[in-house]
C-alpha cells in the first residue's frame, strides 16, 4: 500500500486539519466529535442540512459544506459511517430554529447511526427530518434485504436541497424535495481496479488484467458481475440500460446526466464516457438539460465510474442552478 498519508489511523484527522487550513474562510472544523461546518452556522431561520458518511468518497461530504449546499458534514473513518455523537453535535451546530434535514445514504451502518442521532436530536427539541438515498440499481430492491445503496444521487440531493434551504423553504419542503430527487434518480457504477483502504492495506477485490466489475459499490463492495473489458460504448450501455429501465425513464424526459469518476480514472476518460452516455440518451429520446462530469463521489483511488440519471422537474432545475460555494462544487 502506497499512500500520501502519515499513518493509516491518522488519515481522517490529518485531512480535516488540511481542510481547516485550506478552507478556514468558509468552514470550521470540529475534531472531537469530528464534523465540518459552515463558518456562519447556524443560519437563523434557515433549515439546516447535514450529511455524513465514511471518508474516502471525497469531495463528498466535507467538500460540499458551504453556502447553497450542506451546513455540516460528519466524516467517519474511511468507508465507515460516522457515529451518533458527531451527528448530534453537527445537528446542534447548524440548527437555526427551522429544523435540520439529515441526508443519509442507505447503508445499514449509516442508517442505524443516524437513527440513533435523530432519536437523540429530537430529545433536544430540534426537529429532524431524514432523507434516505437509495439509487443504486445494481442492487436488488427487496423488503427482505438492506435494500439499495445510496450513491450518486446523494450529491444531487445535497445540492438541490441546499439550494432550497438557502431559499428559505421549510423543513418539510426541503425534505420532501430531497425525497423526490431520490425517487427520480437512478445510478450504477463499475470498476476497472479495486481500491485499498488505509486500514486494511489490501485491495478490496481482485480483478484480472482484462476484467471489469459491473455494478460495483463505492466501498469496493463487489458488483453484479464481471466481464472482459469492452469499449466505452459497451460500458455505457451496461450501466445505462439498467438505469433507464428501472425508473423507467421515457422518451421526452428531461434529465440531469451525472458521469462520476471513482477517484482514479482520468477526466479524459470520463468525457469519452459522457459522449457515449449522451448518445444513448439521445437514442432513448431523453433531453439532457444539465450535466455533471468529474470526481464527486469517489472510492479512494479506484479506477472506474458511475452514471446517475435524474429526471428533472422545474423546481429541481431551479435549485440545481442556484449559486453554490463549496470547496467541491461552486457556481
Amino acid at each position: 500500500m502506497k499512500k500520501l498519508i502519515n499513518a493509516p489511523d491518522a488519515v481522517v484527522q490529518d485531512a480535516l486539519h488540511g481542510v481547516e487550513a485550506a478552507h478556514g474562510d468558509r468552514v470550521r472544523v470540529s475534531y472531537d466529535p469530528a464534523y465540518v461546518v459552515r463558518r456562519d452556522a447556524p443560519v437563523q431561520g434557515k433549515v439546516g442540512l447535514i450529511s455524513g458518511g465514511g471518508s474516502g468518497h471525497e469531495p463528498m461530504h466535507g467538500g460540499y459544506v458551504g453556502v447553497g449546499m450542506l451546513d455540516a458534514a460528519c466524516p467517519g473513518e474511511v468507508f465507515t459511517s460516522p457515529t451518533p455523537d458527531q451527528m448530534i453535535e453537527a445537528t446542534k451546530a447548524v440548527n437555526g430554529g427551522a429544523g435540520v434535514v439529515h441526508v443519509v445514504k442507505n447503508y445499514t451502518g449509516d442508517v442505524m447511526n443516524f437513527e440513533m442521532a435523530a432519536d437523540l436530536g429530537k430529545g433536544e427539541g430540534i426537529e429532524v427530518e431524514t432523507v434516505l438515498t437509495n439509487d443504486d440499481v445494481a442492487v436488488e430492491d427487496s423488503l427482505y434485504t438492506a435494500g439499495r445503496r445510496g450513491v450518486g444521487v446523494t450529491v444531487l440531493v445535497e445540492k438541490i436541497c441546499g439550494g432550497a434551504a438557502e431559499d428559505g423553504r421549510s423543513l418539510n419542503e426541503v425534505a420532501e424535495l430531497g425525497r423526490r430527487v431520490n425517487a427520480a434518480g437512478r445510478s450504477m457504477g463499475m470498476a476497472l481496479t479495486p481500491c485499498i483502504t488505509p486500514g486494511s492495506g489490501e485491495p478490496s477485490f481482485e480483478l484480472a488484467e482484462d476484467e471489469v466489475e459491473i455494478g460495483i459499490g463505492i466501498h469496493g463492495e463487489p458488483g453484479r458481475f464481471r466481464e472482459k473489458i469492452g469499449p466505452a460504448s459497451q460500458i455505457a450501455e451496461r450501466l445505462m440500460t439498467p438505469i433507464l429501465d428501472d425508473l423507467p425513464f421515457s422518451s421526452g424526459d428531461r434529465v440531469l446526466a451525472f458521469v462520476n469518476g471513482m477517484g482514479g480514472t482520468p477526466l479524459i476518460e470520463l468525457y469519452v464516457l459522457y459522449n457515449e452516455v449522451a448518445k444513448i440518451a439521445q437514442q432513448r429520446g431523453l433531453s439532457i438539460e444539465r450535466n455533471l462530469i468529474g470526481n464527486f463521489i469517489t472510492s479512494l483511488e479506484m479506477q472506474g465510474c458511475s452514471i446517475t440519471l435524474l429526471r428533472l422537474d422545474d423546481e429541481m432545475v431551479r435549485y440545481w442552478d442556484a449559486p453554490v460555494n463549496t470547496p467541491g462544487l461552486r457556481w
Partner: protein, 207 residues
Amino acid sequence: MVTVTRDGALEWMRRFASELSEHREQLVRLDTAIGDGDHGTNLDRGMRKALEKLDGGEQADPGTVLKTVAMALVSSVGGAAGPLYGTFFLQMGSALGSDSEVDLPRFAAAWRKGLEGVQMRGKAEAGDKTMVDALIPGVGALEAASDLEGGLRAAEQAAEEGMKATTPLVARKGRASYLGERSKDHQDPGATSTYYLFKSAAESLAG
C-alpha cells in the same frame, strides 16, 4: 466462580478487546470478501477506546462496566457494528441494573435483552447471515444451562457453531446482502466477532 462481578466483567471486556486485536486481520479479511473490510479495524479501535474509558473511571458494578463499553463503542466504532454492539452492551448493561453480583439466570436474561436490542436495531432474523446467527444459539445455550461455568462453555460452543453455519447462507441484511447469491461460502464477519465475545466470556468468567 458462580457469579459475575465487576472485576469479572472488566476481565471479560479486556479479553474481548485482545481477541479482537489478535483477530483483527481475520475480521478485516472476512469483511473484505463480502463487505467493505473495516469490521476488524473498527471493533479493535472501539474496544481500545472502551478500555481507555474503563481505565479512566471507576465502575461500581458489571452493568456500569457494560454501559461504559456501550457508550464508547457507539461513539467510536461507526458502521453497522457500532450501533449493534453499542445497543447490545447498553441493553445488557441496563438489564443488570446496579447488581454487584450476577448469577446465571440473571446473566442469561441480560444477554437475551442484548440480543433483543440488536434485533430491534437491525431487524435481522435468524438465518440472515449476521451476528444474530451467533447470538441466538449462544444466548439459548446460556439460558438452558444450570451453572455459569458450564453455560458459558456451552454458549461459546453454540456461538461457534452458529458462526460457522453462516458460511453457506445468503446474506439478507447489511452490506453483504448487496452481493445476493455471491455472499454464499463466506463466514460472516459479525458472527465471527460475536463468537469472540462468547469465547472471551467463557475464558474470563468460567474460571
